[in-house]
Symmetry: none
Subunit: 419 residues, 2 copies
């Protein structure tokens, strides 16, 4: 049982809009246990829509088309589907009445062109569209093919797919299988390192695993197929346990749970407070921490000490130390963390100093060199990292590493080390 | 002259990520005057990648593939392209050396699996990837076909396409027609207001105008077609002048020029320095300012005073004032700005205090209520704004408004007022 997605719209081929519909439809179909092997986008051109539709019908049982159902001349999907399936279009009085009623409610006469939207291929089921003028259409082609047309407007398409299309597909094809994915997030390791650690799990089927690189993190996606929610949960839990065993402490969270969320939860559980002193991350670290609703309960303050004066004035870092070791040094990072912890009166204070670039690098202190320090009840520790990317990524990696240092401290783990 | 885009990745077919690469590539190709008639997505499956590639090569002169160039088992694009084009893979010592050097710089041994990324189809041109380990590949297939492989990571793919792929296609196919867009950015106004202001310009052709809502800004995109760069520049300049005349001071920048860049340039031109005091924006304001390379020349420090204690300790805001007016008030915003300017010794200090939400709102001080204050040589000013969105957007809008307040002050314009 597999499906293909055909998205129609010249604007998609001009790159003027990103095709979020295809991702939405693909995810819903996957969850219903319907494999999608191919996704095609063509413009508002009858010949190319027809070619793509014929190919899709040659490969898949279900073809779901989004877009091209509007009232204008270049809305061609209806006509092409009618031609390819040999189901001539007929004006459906009931649909026409609904469209007219819609305009009447808004106090506008229905433009003639909207009549096109009441054209229905012979034998097609009409899927009502309470949110717009273009109804969806579902054609069953014996023995087992189905063509579905839904509008391109996301707000109209999404509920139609979820509430009308999927139940009909489940029923028509007796689908009991479901697919569900779970994402496990790692920090501080390369994609190839995670790949190695997972070793034998690559051979496993159902659940399968895959790696995704996401904003300085490597994510392991576990995807399971089953007939019941219970079975899905059992399969995912079992594989998750294996992945956790192999990845150990580089694994920090699941699904939408970012490092700032994990750190916030750990601080809350332990009733601890945090302050941050930032140089090269320039506020990003505090920004991420305060993106978490309720963070004011454990986040006391942050200082963005971009100048040496600020490091001295706000954190009490001695001028002499900066002069002797340089602002980007383990010693200054440690002094920043200690100074902040003392002044903020928090349980923990984390500090970051480094060279974000593109300027400011030297032979022995190149762009990307970063020191992250943590001050806690039992002292202060500073660690060196080398990120060799651009300014944005260096800031991201440094903030990510600082959050991971806090996480690891709270869990009693060794400090992060890039592997 | 036409091209097809082939994006490879099972995660795209599972709908777990939206395919922004395809839109980016499509837009760049369109700008070069290359028509894209079809865009296909397949998963990490050799047979389906091969089928899609053969079909694309049967229809288009240029096939650009994104994704599947990583070091792992399921990165198959290289192998399939080698098989389909009959260009066997050979280990390229130069590429291997670059990848090894990349790991060496980070002080990590190169995992064996990364060797895959040094495999180059016979006769292919290697497109260097300074941002990652996967180089791009360009194969010319006589008489007139070209297959291009670029990484799926947007930060690596985008510059490679713009700087390396497009120039080679222009040259190889003697492309002269060009389409170019220029984006003019506005702040503090609604889309419908900008729409009104542009009035008659909507009728104009070449260049045409379009509106895009982007991260709390309304952008006006001007798109021109011409055969020479000179003609493009002439057309765009003329239309830009008209748009500028109609939009006036809500227009702040062009193309990639964000408010933080504009503010940085104005501060540099005037030889002025800036410090920030943040409550509800939680570091986002400092983060945006320090995203600009060279910002250390004018940005002295920032304070994220999330607690009242921090507002008093770091900015000298009187306890009594906070008690009397509340931390979210015009008076406290003004005191934060003045306190920061005095302590940082900067020419300007901007402060933000507000209720980001979801918690913390009351009847007379609802979520979204925000005060932005600016302290300067001639005094301090505070302004009230009401953003009624979610936590993330409230932070964004507040930071955006604070930057616009600085911009307007530096240009001698009235303070921002949401229209």
């Amino acid at each position: 049982m597999n499906a293909e997605i055909l998205t129609v719209g010249t604007e998609l081929l001009l790159g003027q809009i990103v095709d979020t519909n295809a991702a939405f439809v693909a995810e819903r179909l996957a969850e219903a246990g319907i494999d999608v092997y191919c996704k095609t986008t063509v413009g508002d051109n009858a010949a190319r829509i027809e070619a793509a539709l014929r190919q899709a019908l040659g490969r898949a049982q279900v073809v779901l088309c989004t877009g091209g159902l509007g009232p204008t001349e270049d809305d061609l999907t209806r006509d092409v589907v009618a031609a390819v399936t040999g189901r001539p279009l007929r004006l459906d009085p009931a649909v026409l009445a609904q469209i007219q009623a819609r305009f009447a409610r808004r106090g506008i006469p229905m433009p003639k062109s909207n009549e096109r939207q009441a054209q229905v291929p012979e034998g097609a089921e009409v899927l009502e569209n309470p949110r717009g003028t273009a109804p969806g259409l579902l054609l069953r082609l014996p023995p087992d093919r189905t063509v579905i047309l839904v509008p391109g407007v996301p707000a109209e398409m999404r509920p139609m797919v979820t509430e009308m299309v999927l139940p009909r597909l489940r029923e028509a094809y007796g689908l009991r299988g479901r697919i569900r994915s779970r994402v496990l997030r790692t920090v501080g390791v390369s994609e190839s390192r995670v790949n190695e650690l997972l070793g034998d799990l690559w051979e496993e089927r159902n659940p399968t695993i895959a790696l995704l690189a996401r904003s300085g993190e490597i994510h392991v996606r576990i995807t399971a197929k089953a007939e019941t929610e219970e079975e899905l949960a059992r399969l995912l839990d079992a594989r998750e346990a294996q992945v956790r065993e192999r990845l150990g402490d580089i694994l920090f969270g699941r699904d939408e749970e970012g490092l700032e969320v994990v750190v916030g939860r750990l601080l809350t559980e332990r009733g601890l407070t945090l302050a941050v002193a930032e140089s090269c991350t320039g506020g990003l670290l505090a920004h991420r921490i305060t993106n978490v609703p309720g963070s004011s309960a454990y986040f006391e303050r942050g200082a963005v000490t971009y100048s040496n004066r600020a490091k001295t004035a706000l954190l009490g870092v001695p001028d002499e130390l900066i002069a002797a070791k340089g602002a980007v040094s383990a010693e200054v990072a440690a002094a920043m963390a200690e100074g902040m912890r003392e002044r903020a009166g928090t349980d923990l204070a984390v500090a970051v100093t480094g060279i974000a670039g593109p300027g400011g690098g030297t032979a022995e202190k190149p762009v990307g060199l970063t020191y992250v320090a943590l001050a806690h009840a039992s002292g202060v520790e500073a660690h060196e990292f080398r990120f060799f990317t651009d300014r944005d990524l260096n800031k991201q990696r440094a903030a990510q590493t600082a959050l991971d240092l806090v996480r690891r401290h709270l869990l009693g783990l060794p400090p992060p080390s890039l592997r």
